[in-house]
Amino acid sequence: MTDQKSFPLPSDLKVVPGTEGAQAAYPYYAQFVPEDDQKFWFYNSMHFPEPMHHFDMITAEAAYVALGAFNTRVHVLPTAKGIEHRVINGRVYIGGVAVTDPAEIEERVGEFQQRAFYYYENWERLYDQWKDKMKALIADAQALPKPSLPAYEPLETTHTGKGVASNHALLDIYQKQIEGYHRMWHHHFEFLLLGYGAYMTFFDFCKKAFPEISDQAISRMVAGMEAEIFRPDEEVKRLARRAVELGVDAQFTDNMNIDQVLADLDALGNAGKEWLGELETSRNPWFNVSSGDGFYHYHRSWNDDLSLPFAALPGYIEKIKAGANIERPTEQLVAEREQLVADYRELLETDEDKATYDQLIGLAHRVFPYVEGHKFYCEHWYTNLFFNKIREFGALLAEHGFFGPQGREDDVFHLNQYELESAIIDLMLAWGIGSEPRGPKHWPAVVAERKAAIEEWGKHPTSPALGAVPDVIDDPAIVMLWGITRENLDTWLNEGVENEKELKGFAACSGVVEGTARVVKSVAEIGRIQQGDILVCQVTNPTWSPIFQKIGAAVSDIGGSMSHMAIVAREYGLPAVVGTGTATQRIRDGQRIRVDGGRGVVTLLDEERVLEEA
């Protein structure tokens, strides 16, 4: 590697002045150290596009604990071990641990084949078992009681000889919840890499056989049809249809007051009550879907905040009344997929290739239900239960004054997981002793400091990567999960040099659209999106699907051809460019842009006018 451009070193990144205390409160093992300058890191803005609350760091930590264990020691990936993570200014950087010693790779190949091949061979059985495990884990979490402290222990404790007082339950619930969360991430990675790997094998074969095939065409050949991830949106469509059928559709209008609508429906008689019954059916479990990607406590589920699904209802109702069939034509989609697979097969030259193609598409179809479906159980349903349980601790602590007179339950997320346990023990002690806890004097200042730090960090864009770019990125996990390739690192390095008016990313779904950019940095801003706007965001996820009917195109900072945004954009035929690196930083809200989803290019159109306004 000669003197080429490179990213700043980790040691070049400075903690934003005034936030040193908040930075130091992240775990010591996630702080950059001087040796980290030797390694290549990239900002994981796909999963962590916003500065991390201290508690939320557990989403990175638990995920990397499990990912590492499965890559390094369970499946034994030949060329890659786990992923290291660091946090600075609230931004999570990650870097892979490659295996380079040929002898070690050889040894790991043998291990891998014994282990991974077993999974592939028994995929359906193991996946069914996986769903049972996940559902049991979810049931365990649902069974955890709400933490509370009575004035006196119920008499029952005495009469049953229970021998354990209520303050102990706090620690028990908290530790079980943390344990369950870690366990969920182990389940998550039990199949994920193997699933992506089988998909990528087919993907690579197609790219060799058909050098100019689009990523999109390959994805369409593999895409599952019954995946859980489409289900929440399908439920909203179903509710829209039922509203029309029951004649209660007039209740749903843009900017409706949801509580009022629910009350009105209840008062409306049988039809209204029947619709509310339908709503309950949909909510459990399908509205346990996070309005984010499941990595931030404030990405609430549809069940916690009905505004996202309800925002989609008027549009769907209008379409249904206009006679459109909006529900996914699953059978037709399956038939189209099979036709596509057959048509490409027909183009192959030799019988050998046709045989290989059949094997690879077969394997891809076997693994894909997991790839598409796991998120609903893990990042959405379980994670939602997890954060809500922590929120219950937040409410209890707030009630006991831990966050000051203005304290809110969500302040709890400014404590890291160890600090939270210490606060719980503080409360356990005080309740038992009959004294005042120390927390109310300790935590309000800490929370205020961290709140300010997160706000400050949000104003500072961070480098997409750190350290010297490696010659090749051949860590399958990094390529598959983050879509990071040598090519797009080069593009990131050259950003702003080649063409100031263009951003390049992955072509996720073809089509050319011009429109007004709506730069949405968090889910809370979703309401600003107008019909026909182009959504520009750090990362989208399928639970944003209901707004896909509104927008003309979508652009994201991060995401590969396998990212959920890409999958859903293809499903909706929505032009999309993913993995641009800096779209949310370079595109101004309200700016006119052109999205060419087929080429993976976003063009900034009226930069000048917007600059004047700014």
């Binding site: 058909f210 065409a217 045989a355 060419d596």
Partner: protein, 346 residues
């Protein structure tokens, strides 16, 4: 044999009498693909004419006696024979048949294209290299008849005769058919490859096009717009819109002339997505008909209807096709995943 054959009466198998181009246009017509109507002046017409020429003075014997390295003699003979082809009377039966067909094709003397249509594959390649002739926007029966003679005469061009002599091909059986075809006043035109010229990928269709007649694209005088689309999916993955400075249009008295494109259209794509999809449909249909990838010339008339002007089997990549598989077959299909997980090892 009839000196004239309509497109709808002939196919590829008739190459010996209507030539490759004529046979292909006939084949496409019969397959129900929109081709501007026309007829072929068959090799029989040429042979009857040649017979009349030979009756007056030898032709084939003179060519066969030629020393291809004697350029001076070749040039002299070429000039002599081409003059004879242009000037000596055509047998009345032939002339009459061609004029009658023309009158039927062009009741109002609509413009036609006249193209030589060689009967052998070798000659067709020579034709593609520009050794034989194409005349565009030919107006009126007299012009048409003269251009047919010029096509016949091209058999006696210096290049053509030299080629035959060097190959030692007998003159017996050397014949020329000529295509007479109504012309499309093309809004835009170009070429289409049902197999990628870049990578040999059979899953994409590449279309190149520019404003006006296709001759500007075929001759390379204008950098065309270029699109790549999925043959199966129809998804457009590449759009290269070029600065098309000029276009070729019909000249007032016949023939074609180049005019500058107004700035307003020079940088505009010459095809809409719907038109691209229509081209793709036609391309797939032709490819299916022949059972192999095709290189196609197309034009869109003012109303946006797609017409095919020519379709030839793709030759470059077909010749390269090795039988080596994309990926070696694995006894255990799971072993394929090692290409992802194995770091290049297996």
């Amino acid at each position: 044999m009839n000196p004239v054959a309509w497109f709808k009466e002939v196919g590829i198998a008739d190459r010996p009498t209507v030539g490759g181009k004529g046979g292909s246009l006939g084949e496409l017509t019969q397959a129900g693909i929109a081709v501007p109507p026309g007829f072929v002046v068959t090799t029989s017409a040429f042979e009857q004419f040649l017979e009349a020429l030979e009756a007056r003075a030898p032709v084939r014997a003179r060519v066969e006696a030629l020393d291809p390295s004697d350029l001076e003699a070749t040039v002299a003979l070429s000039e002599e024979l081409r003059r004879r082809v242009m000037e000596e009377p055509v047998p009345e039966a032939v002339a009459q048949a061609v004029r009658a067909a023309y009158a039927e094709l062009c009741p109002a003397e609509e413009p036609v294209a006249i193209r030589s249509s060689a009967t052998t594959e070798d000659a067709e390649d020579a034709s593609f290299a520009g050794l034989q002739d194409t005349f565009l926007w030919v107006l009126g029966a007299d012009q048409m008849a003269a251009r047919v003679r010029e096509c016949w005469g091209s058999l006696y061009s210096v290049e053509s005769m030299t080629y035959r002599r060097k190959q030692g091909l007998p003159e017996e059986g050397v014949a020329m058919a000529v295509v007479v075809q109504r012309m499309v006043d093309a809004m835009c035109a170009g070429v289409m490859f049902t197999r990628s010229p870049l990578t040999g990928d059979k899953s994409v269709i590449t279309v190149e096009g520019a404003w006006g007649l296709g001759s500007a694209v075929v001759s390379g005088e204008v950098t065309p717009d270029r699109w790549v689309m999925g043959k199966i999916t129809g998804e457009i993955s590449v759009r290269d819109i070029s600065d098309k400075h000029a276009r070729q249009v019909p000249a007032p008295g016949g023939g074609i002339v180049e005019v500058a494109n107004e700035a307003a259209i020079a940088n505009q794509p010459c095809l809409t997505d719907d038109q691209l999809m229509a081209l793709r449909e036609v391309g797939r249909k032709v490819e299916r008909h022949y059972g192999k990838p095709q290189d196609i010339e197309w034009a869109l008339d003012e109303a946006g209807h797609v017409f095919l002007l020519q379709s030839r089997p793709e030759t470059v990549w077909s010749a390269k096709d090795a039988s080596a598989p994309v990926k070696p077959v694995e006894a255990n299909p799971l072993a394929h995943v090692m290409s992802i997980f194995g770091g290049g090892k297996r």
